[in-house]
């Protein structure tokens, strides 16, 4: 066999092929865990529904007095609300904010947690001690009440602000777990070998430490998303965040309209609750597969 034949097949020229192969392998690994794959499918369904779906399901703005609390029909599969508006349409259009914000919060909080956590563990000394203390204090502050108070002070009508605020508020927990993880990886023999081989700090962080934390980071990311969703829905439900099209708003409306007292309004309150629960479930399930995908022991190709 010639040396040529043994070259790793990763030439940059084939990048479309590589991307396709990557997706294929991703799906294959994803489907390894049944629950995880189910979660992944539901997640994709929600993503499609709130993006592509909005093109097919028209947004209803007009009230229809004749259809108040109308039970499901073929035209309105989830029935109608207290104003006679189609519930399905509201579900389809009310998810986008939540999804975007959850993703954004997941990304920002993971970024903060991972960078502060790894730096803290790798630099150590006073920097580490200071951040750790700060995190400890931070963790003692009850988060949701603080958020509620802040929401009344700052006008949180912009999703990015909200995501930033949520991320900043939740940095401490993630910071601590990432820091602990990096500390344990730092002690491993292969890191020491890399030090002896003088491969440099950047190589050690990005090539030796991070790849072994990916599953961990992915899990943290999903946790960040789920808690962001609860926080946002909570805020919206309390009316502290002035959003209009939103599952949280739907629950709020259903609640204030006394939905729990009417048998007919069951669809109105259950639809957004189910959507939120299902979406959260899909994330939690999906994280199981993510865990496996990033576990190098299973990445045998």
């Amino acid at each position: 066999m010639t040396t040529q034949a043994l070259m790793p097949k990763t030439g940059i020229r084939y990048w479309p092929g590589r991307v396709l192969r990557g997706i294929g392998r991703f799906l294959k690994l994803m489907s390894r865990n049944k629950t995880g794959f189910a979660g992944f499918l539901i997640f994709i369904f929600f993503v499609l529904m709130t993006t592509v779906g909005t093109l097919f399901v028209p947004e209803v703005t007009k009230a229809d007095i004749n259809a108040i609390y109308a039970p499901p029909t073929w035209e309105h599969p989830l029935g109608n609300d207290s104003q006679g508006k189609d519930i399905l349409s509201q579900i389809v259009h009310g998810g986008r904010d939540i999804l975007q914000m959850a993703l954004l919060t997941g990304i920002i909080s993971t970024f903060i947690g991972v960078s502060l956590g790894s730096l803290s563990a790798l630099i150590g000394g006073g920097f580490d001690a200071f951040l750790s203390m700060l995190a400890d204090i931070w963790l003692t502050i009850p988060r949701f009440p603080l958020l509620a108070v802040l929401a009344t002070l700052v006008k949180l009508d912009n999703m990015i602000y909200l995501a930033l605020l949520l991320s900043v508020l939740s940095w401490a927990g993630l910071y601590r777990s990432i820091r602990a993880q990096v500390f344990s990886i730092k002690e491993r023999d292969y890191i020491e070998a890399a030090t002896a081989l003088d491969l440099g700090m950047w190589h050690i962080i990005f090539s030796e430490v991070l790849p072994n934390m990916l599953s961990y980071i992915a899990i943290s990311f999903t946790f960040g998303m789920t808690s962001a969703i609860y926080a946002q829905v909570g805020l919206v439900f309390l009316g502290l965040v002035p959003l209009t099209r939103n599952w949280g708003v739907m629950i709020n409306l259903a609640w204030t309209q006394g939905a729990i007292f009417f048998k007919d309004s069951i669809y109105f309150i259950m639809a957004p609750v189910t959507a939120i629960a299902l979406f959260q479930l899909s994330i939690v399930w999906m994280s199981r597969s993510l865990e496996e995908i990033f576990n190098p022991r299973l990445r045998t190709g």
């Binding site: 043994l6 790793p8 491993r188 292969y190 070998a193 002896a196 003088d198 090539s207 072994n212 190098p296």
Partner: protein
């Protein structure tokens, strides 16, 4: 004293390493000195916790000595202020380490090719990936992992313990080290595989002139690997005897070496049954937090002489050519100058 002796490729002089703070402070390595010549094997043996790994890491430069010096090729590795010496980079690549645990010493995220090519490319030992591949193949052949195509793109978890240790050796060889510190490199590998690994490492000495600091708690392995070299026996942080392997194995002088050799069971029923044992006065290994006065071995030593051994700490003294012992009684009997 800023120059090492020209005799040794790597030399430890009065190495001390402490851990912990205040009342928990322990001296894990206490005044250890030895030198290894180019192409020689020096074996460090002793029981768990006696400071072998700590010494090995100081020799590799992964741990800074609390005091004392390491010399590489005659030059001091650390400056008097404890910074990296001028030739640190040469030293850093010149001394590599092989760890004990085959399951922890390779990054599970990388293929064997990646593990071996990274240092080659990083230090520009090769110009491009094609050259890197050539060199990786060469290295895999050197450590006996052939056919190479079965290994190149495997992940560490797809290899057996013995094969992983071979990859670790190959990874150390990427930077053409002159010294390899092998810390219990074969302890976790099965007997049936162990000899092959040891023979491969011995071939590196023969063919590439690699110098070894070989750390083990297994005297049989020490004897086999360092038969032409020397063995240093450590006891709670210090070297108590240092001699050529055949001398040490067949005629140990220090009571602790004698006890160790007498205690090892032998893989030969008649031999092991007929072995003379050394009765120790106590079985307790002293805690580093409460070290005995005088000779650290005195509470256990069958040759203990009150008024001498428990009062005065014996130094590592030369007794005969290339032979050192740290024991009042043994030194006296060997007629060492005191």
């Amino acid at each position: 004293m800023n120059a090492g002796s020209g005799e040794y490729l790597i030399e430890a002089r009065n190495l001390v390493r402490m851990f912990g703070a205040r009342r928990e402070r322990v001296t894990a390595v206490d005044d250890v000195s030895f030198g290894i010549r180019q192409g020689e094997v020096v074996c460090l043996v002793g029981e768990s916790g006696c400071g072998k790994t700590t010494t090995g890491k100081m020799i590799t430069g992964l741990l800074k000595p609390t005091s004392g010096q390491v010399f590489y090729a005659g030059k001091s590795v650390w400056t008097p202020r404890g910074d990296k010496g001028e030739d640190f980079k040469t030293y850093r690549l010149g001394v590599q380490i092989i760890h004990q645990d085959p399951y922890a010493s390779l990054n599970p995220s990388h293929t064997i090719y990646k593990i071996l090519s990274t240092p080659l490319l990083h230090h520009k030992f090769v110009a491009n990936t094609y050259e890197a591949l050539d060199r990786v193949i060469e290295l895999l052949n050197i450590v006996g992992l052939s056919p190479v195509e079965d290994f190149l793109y495997k992940y560490p978890h797809q290899l057996s313990g013995g094969q992983r240790q071979r990859v670790s050796v190959a990874r150390a060889l990427t930077v053409n080290p002159r010294v390899i510190v092998a810390d219990e490199a074969v302890s976790m590998v099965d007997v049936s595989i162990r000899v092959g690994l040891l023979n491969m490492m011995a071939d590196l000495k023969r063919n590439l002139g690699v110098t070894y600091l070989f750390i083990t708690h297994d005297l049989a392995v020490a004897k086999f690997f360092a038969w032409e070299g020397r063995i240093a026996v450590m006891y709670v942080g210090s070297i108590v005897e240092f001699a050529s392997t055949p001398q040490l194995i067949n005629d140990p002088l220090h009571p602790y070496s004698k006890a160790l050799l007498a205690a090892v069971p032998e893989a030969d029923p008649e031999l092991t049954r007929s072995k003379k044992r050394v009765e120790l006065r106590s079985q307790d290994i002293p805690s580093l937090l409460a070290l005995p006065s005088g000779c650290r071995f005195h509470p256990r030593c069958p040759y203990f002489e009150p008024g001498l051994c428990d009062v005065k700490r014996p130094e590592l003294l030369p007794v005969g050519e290339n032979r050192y012992v740290a024991c009042h009684i043994a030194a006296r009997e060997a007629g060492a100058p005191t």
